[in-house]
Symmetry: C2
Subunit: 232 residues, 2 copies
């Protein structure tokens, strides 16, 4: 559907790989990125790695330390709060727009998304569940017809993924989440903008609350289970 782009440069590929590593927790918050090591591991020169890190830095996924190199940006509870606060307004708005602008052919896609989400729950596959969650929300952004919403949220998803894995460890939360998704889709497909928007608002509110609970079990700073495997 999009225009062809047969050439992905090494810079872009390295960027995607590093961002994915950050999101998945393979690279932990605070951990330093070593250009030589990354270059060697990926079998490229340091040049594209350096460029990719520049982009990560511009987008706040890594930060300068003052010393040598950059480290993965720590995400504190305040940032999670900000993201959810932001989503609590943007997501219902996107949903409202989507209800107005959705095409007649959206039914099958909605069904496929919901089916995949439930399948991921059944399979107890967190990665798959995360992907399904992202797909659900990004589809609504697309239906909203507003590319700026899509772009703005894209900047936040990587951060959110870091916390969502924690929340979705609890099967009940995952189930609740996809019940919400079902409700939202139903309202969208019947063109009920108010109901869809309200359901989305509630959904984000619940997610925010669960995130807060999971990440601050004793009122402390967030704890992220970043299992970080580094093969020789």
């Amino acid at each position: 559907m999009d225009s062809i782009e047969p050439k992905r440069t090494l810079v872009e590929q390295v960027y995607d790989i590093l961002l994915d590593a950050i999101c998945s927790g393979e690279l932990c918050p605070g951990e330093r990125l070593n250009q030589d090591e990354i270059a060697t591991r990926l079998n490229v020169s340091r040049q594209p790695v350096n460029s990719a890190i520049s982009i990560l830095k511009a987008n706040n996924f890594v930060r300068d330390t003052g010393r040598r190199g950059v480290v993965v940006t720590e995400v504190d509870m305040e940032q999670y709060s900000s993201i959810y606060e932001f989503r609590s307004v943007v997501e219902p708005f996107a949903t409202r727009l989507a209800a107005d602008r959705i095409g007649d052919d959206a039914g099958p896609e909605a069904q496929a998304i919901l089916r995949e989400g439930r399948a991921a729950i059944k399979a107890r596959d967190i990665k798959r569940l995360l992907a399904a969650d992202v797909r659900f929300h990004e589809t609504i952004y697309r239906w909203s017809g507003n590319h700026v919403i899509e772009a703005s949220m894209r900047a936040n998803w990587p951060h959110m993924l870091r916390s969502m894995a924690e929340v979705l460890r609890d099967p009940a939360s995952a189930q609740q989440s996809w019940d919400d998704h079902q409700l939202i889709m139903d309202a969208l497909l019947t063109g009920n903008a108010d109901a869809a928007s309200t359901a989305m608002e509630r959904h984000i509110g619940l997610a925010m609350e669960k995130t807060r609970k999971v990440l601050t079990p004793n009122g402390k700073e967030p704890v992220l289970h970043g299992a970080f495997s580094r093969g020789k």
Copy 2:
């Protein structure tokens, strides 16, 4: 106020220069960026230029053409609509948050901002007026205490600047705009969240309408007066 960052790399400096050139219209939409030429002009090697362009590409300020190099991304009316649609929700929300979280010491800063805006109108200095406008809105983002709002909007301002210069050419529009700003600040300083938010919503709505009128004088695609000077 921010943490010290004594080292700005060449990549970051080049990025800022190029972004500014794009925003100011010195580099026109559709125009190609020549790495060698930019490097020569800025007295740096092609390497930091190449990296800076990678960042610009990731942030959608330039795009690949399929042929050689990148061009400045064209901004069509649909994108302007999307931005203003987005702002119509985010700005009132930021204003509401700001009303709740604003400090007691905000008065002098508000006065300074409003004074500077009126001074820029009097001086008929468009660049100065744009800077004042950005400062007004960014201050509210800051007061909102939500860094995600700030970051999301930062991605959109460069695009908006391209159109705002056109709108603010009309002194009446500029005057109207700063009357709005005054109203919003007054409501904020008296802690009237509803009034501030409503005033902001109206302000964005008016700006959107004016932008549409200025950019599509005869229902066509937007016309940007990019005077682009290229000295030897």
